[in-house]
């Protein structure tokens, strides 16, 4: 009997020893994992820092007196002409072009996207809504160069037809309008899918509350559902605008790359920050190559300011109502 007790005591000690061992093992794993997480966070942060640092340094060198053929920073920031052949690099009109065409694209795409999102989430019967969701996802997955081919083949001729209707001529349809339409199509799926997610996150009880107050379906959708989802919808707008500002390949295919600006005529050719950076990049060297990094800095600043502004508007709307 006594032996038994001793035995079980031994067992107990054995078990607790095992537990201690296991606990130390778990602790070691925890430490290792924490290190791994830190490392991956550090690497991704480092990438961003390196990219910004590299682009900034490279972009600023062209303005330094030590540069072989330095560009005047003041002229760069305020200039309305971009003539590489004359060493005349003015980026202001390009900034205006970029903001204008992205803004107009958002103006077209945003209401369409929000209404489509409402259609998908609230109005369409289940099967149709599934089909629509798939279409939006497919649109989002189309590579931008394919959009570019489509734009230079279809949108340009459409724009050309519209222009001749108004007695205008175009450079084969390459124009600001073509850029705007192209960008509208490209950012539509981005905004739509974000809006769908935001609308689906609105609790059903809000809808029921509205309907129980004698609101119609339409009133409920617009006043309660959309107003509750606006935060997420604005996030979609930011992503969409970001894509519009940053889209290079497809835009370059229809922009036409004007030398002067800003372009106010929708049928006139335009030049955006991205098209300036991209077109002819591999056939050039020297200032004309290096200055593209300066344009890159400008593009990053434009996107940054844009995000601040949209966030500011969002906050104003949220607190103002």
């Amino acid at each position: 009997m006594e032996k038994d007790i001793n035995n079980s005591k031994d067992n107990y000690e054995l078990i607790s020893e095992k537990r201690t061992k296991r606990r130390t093992m778990y602790k070691t794993i925890d430490t290792i994992m924490r290190g791994l997480f830190k490392l991956s966070g550090l690497i991704s942060a480092l990438m961003i820092v390196l990219i910004i640092l590299f682009v900034t340094i490279k972009g600023l060198t062209v303005f330094l007196p030590s540069y072989e053929n330095p560009v005047d920073l003041g002229n760069f920031l305020t200039g309305m002409r971009w003539r590489a052949d004359q060493q005349d690099y003015g980026v202001l009109f390009i900034i205006i072009n970029t903001i204008l065409s992205s803004f107009l694209a958002a103006l077209i795409a945003f209401p369409l996207a929000v209404l489509s999102a409402l259609m998908i989430t609230k109005i369409a019967p289940k099967r149709l809504s599934g089909v629509l969701t798939t279409i939006v996802e497919l649109l989002a997955a189309v590579p931008s160069v394919v959009y570019g081919v489509f734009a230079s083949g279809v949108i340009t001729s459409l724009v050309d037809n519209i222009a001749s209707f108004f007695n205008y001529t175009t450079f084969g349809g390459n124009s600001m309008l073509a850029v705007v339409l192209l960008l509208a199509i490209m950012i539509y799926p981005t905004i739509t899918s974000m809006a769908v997610v935001a609308i689906n996150a609105v609790p059903e009880s809000h809808e029921l509350g509205s309907l129980a107050l004698g609101a119609s379906r339409t009133q409920t959708n617009f006043k309660v559902v959309l107003s509750s989802a606006k935060s997420g919808i604005f996030a979609g707008l930011i992503l969409g605008l970001g894509r519009a500002y940053g889209e290079a390949t497809a835009v370059s295919m229809v922009a036409g790359n004007a030398f002067v600006g800003p372009t106010w005529n929708p049928f006139g050719i335009t030049r955006t920050l991205t098209s300036t950076m991209l077109s002819g990049m591999h056939e050039t060297a020297g200032v004309d190559y290096d200055i593209r990094f300066s344009v890159g800095i400008i593009l990053m600043i434009v996107i940054l300011i844009n995000n601040f502004l949209v966030n500011y508007i969002k906050r104003r709307i949220e607190s103002g109502e």
């Binding site: 029921l208 509350g209 309907l211 009133q219 006043k223 109502e321």
Partner: protein, 259 residues
């Protein structure tokens, strides 16, 4: 069940032979009931007995549920509420509803209360101001929110949110207010406030309330209906239900033998 259809009180609703099906499942069985005007009627019973389903019949919220089929009649001042001539929007302005979970909209306190009227097309700022103030006062929340009517309603406490939802329902000056377990998500103090409010509101409104709490039904209601598996087992004055029930199942439930 009270078989006496020659009621001694004025009625807000008369329910006749109401059956309700979710697809093939029958959730309510042959319900007959007269709901008195300007009194508090409570529905009690164990979970899944159909009391919440039943309360949603009065403002036709069940219309929103697919596969939900209703047979039988509900008369509201002589008009059958499922009749084609009845505008469901109009019905819902006359029959307000307060839900189990407080569900204020993500907008300001003011806009929450003004919402119903605005949906009816009222734009006059003076009218809206006045209705917002009187509704919030009636719902006993005015003093707590009058200084920040522009604050988002989601920032209020749960009990305040629920009283705001009551104010929102009152803003349309309904005749009836349906309350589906309005205090089940609240703490005891907030619950007491809502119960006091209900006692106050019944002077002006007809109130139908679903409750899990038998003591709550006993405290605030004039008449009580006991539901079991989709049937009304007994419907009578609250005193009778709690102290002298006719059916042994009612007695077992109110004395806590099951539930």
């Amino acid at each position: 069940m009270s078989e006496n259809n020659n009621t001694q009180f004025e009625t807000a609703f008369e329910v006749r032979d109401l059956d309700l099906y979710y697809d093939t499942f029958q959730a309510l069985k042959k319900i007959n009931m007269d709901i008195p005007l300007n009194q508090v009627t409570a529905f009690i019973g164990p979970s899944g007995c159909g009391k919440s389903t039943f309360i949603r019949c009065f403002n036709r919220m069940n219309d929103l549920i697919e596969d939900c089929r209703i047979e039988g009649e509900i008369f509201h001042h002589g008009v059958e509420i499922h009749d084609k001539s009845v505008d469901v929007v109009q019905l819902r302005t006359e029959v307000g509803m307060v839900f189990q979970q407080p569900n204020p909209f993500s907008m300001s306190v003011y806009d929450n209360v003004a919402y119903g009227l605005r949906c009816q097309g009222v734009k006059d700022k003076n009218i809206l101001d006045e209705v917002v103030e009187t509704s919030l006062k009636q719902a006993a929340i005015w003093d707590e929110v009058k200084d920040h009517l522009n604050r988002n309603a989601m920032k209020l406490s749960g009990g305040q949110q629920q009283r705001l939802c009551i104010a929102r329902a009152i803003s349309l000056k309904p005749e009836v207010i349906l309350m589906d377990e309005p205090t089940s998500a609240l703490d005891p103090i907030a619950t007491t406030k809502i119960e006091d409010l209900i006692t106050e509101l019944k002077k002006t409104y007809t109130i139908i309330i679903v409750t899990h709490s038998m003591s709550q039904a006993a405290r605030i209601s004039d008449r009580t209906a006991f539901f079991l598996l989709g049937e009304v087992i007994e419907y009578d004055e609250t005193d009778v239900i709690f102290h002298n029930p006719a059916d042994s199942r009612t007695e077992d439930y109110v004395t806590g033998k099951f539930g």
